[in-house]
Point group: C2
Chain length 316, copies 2
Amino acid sequence: MRFTAAAALLLTSCAAGQGGSGLPEPSARHIFWRPAPVMGAPEPVRVVEAAPPAAWRAIAPEDLLIIDLKDGRRVAIELSREFAPIHVANVRAFARAGWWTGSAIYRMQDNYVAQWGIGEGKERALPGGVVRLPPPEYHRPLTGLAIRPLGFPDSYAPMVGHADSWPIGYDPEQGRAWLTHCYGAVGVSRDLAPDTGTGSELYAVIGHAPRHLDLNIALVGRVIDGMDALSARPRGTEALGLYKEESQYVPIVHARLAADMPAAERPAYEVLRSDSPSFSHYVTGRANRGGEFFGRPAGGVDICNVNVPVRRRVQH
Amino acid sequence: MRFTAAAALLLTSCAAGQGGSGLPEPSARHIFWRPAPVMGAPEPVRVVEAAPPAAWRAIAPEDLLIIDLKDGRRVAIELSREFAPIHVANVRAFARAGWWTGSAIYRMQDNYVAQWGIGEGKERALPGGVVRLPPPEYHRPLTGLAIRPLGFPDSYAPMVGHADSWPIGYDPEQGRAWLTHCYGAVGVSRDLAPDTGTGSELYAVIGHAPRHLDLNIALVGRVIDGMDALSARPRGTEALGLYKEESQYVPIVHARLAADMPAAERPAYEVLRSDSPSFSHYVTGRANRGGEFFGRPAGGVDICNVNVPVRRRVQH
């Protein structure tokens, strides 16, 4: 019977967890531990509203990539400081060289990714400062990261949590951490060889988190504003969601670092600090939705359904 | 130190699993068991191509809701037989009464849902056969379901798997099972009271799985074709993603059961049977992506990233 098989499977897992000391008596508690749901947890939106100034960190203009599209839409991307530094430096160099001016969004694959650049396989001299063959920066050492563990099971990573407000998977046994492919995550397209992505072609996740890409490709950032300027586009009808006609491409006017924009035009954002008490309350609220609508809090949330709060910067 | 705290938290969990017999020595194995990744797993697309006729089940015309939109796009939805039977019967009754003719998609909330109907709060006499106040069919008994356990940890449900090719969460301790809010899942909009949704207003998930809705709302089906006719729409700018102007609404020409369409026009689909060996190979492949691109198989997949294979029906 299927269910017995499942119980056995997971009991084995817990037995292994106990150092292989034989199978304990079957018990539901063995099979699936999770924290008890919290009734009356704070409403996430209220937690964010009540978060004090100290709970927010400003995104540095050097870490903010602003993409302006020909149809007037704008996409704001936070670049990660602590992950894939060589790829991120490449992205900054491409932006400063105006690389993406005249390039376009040419791929829209439903429930997967939007992708932009000059087009894979198209050759063009790389700007100065761009590393042509960056190493596969798919993970980084755990040391040096202040991690807030999520505290719920994950289907992919040994552990998940947030570091400097970035959703991450990590493995204490191997001592490494990596960004997760959540909705809005921005990564570096590559060919089959791991070192073939420079950062000239980027993609953003527009569907359910394709976590199988974690540790297989370099993530460099996340969309923090204007996400629907990517997600709401018509899907491409060719293989991999490529647009069939160039007339379908969405031209990019320019992609600049906020640091290189005139101060008056420069957008600014803040992210809720994952090391703040507000963030912990927010996660508890996300994992235990209450209020008038939810009769049954889940008692858990997956790392890609936490949705780290971001807001336009307010002056204090 | 954060990580120690996490280890303690999860060790406690496993200790509880062992009947509260104190904390075992910290060990990575305690903290996060998962199956070892499989190298050289079958490529999912090849498994589907190679699946024999017996591995497919036809979707009954009574279980197939076909929505035709004014812009010429079509959305095909499989209705669930085994879950929320009263709500599903309502949906069939609404379809047969032509309820949705002249209604529209009026809500597009990014990374959440598309919603359609005549609009919440708008009163109209219900067709005959519609149950006005269906009970909250948020879960069903576990007995009677042939479940294929997924075999990987889940962030929300004690256990997850597939029953009759539907992604489900289940709880052997409480003896109940429920459909999961995966990409494309179709549910019954309701007001704050649990019994306020008849099935006249439906929504489909267009973003990362909002699993916190599981067990809080009745799911009645899933989109199996034409998903991008929903997901690629412009997002609504009002609260909850409602369109601001009625001119933005996407009119529905009609929503019919395939059973009520002329045989010649009737679309037909098949779903890969979750009790087939092909399905198991497919899941193994999805959890362990290989081929030339993936250097590191995840060794796991979440229930909403399995993507149950569906195809246009082939005559045997």
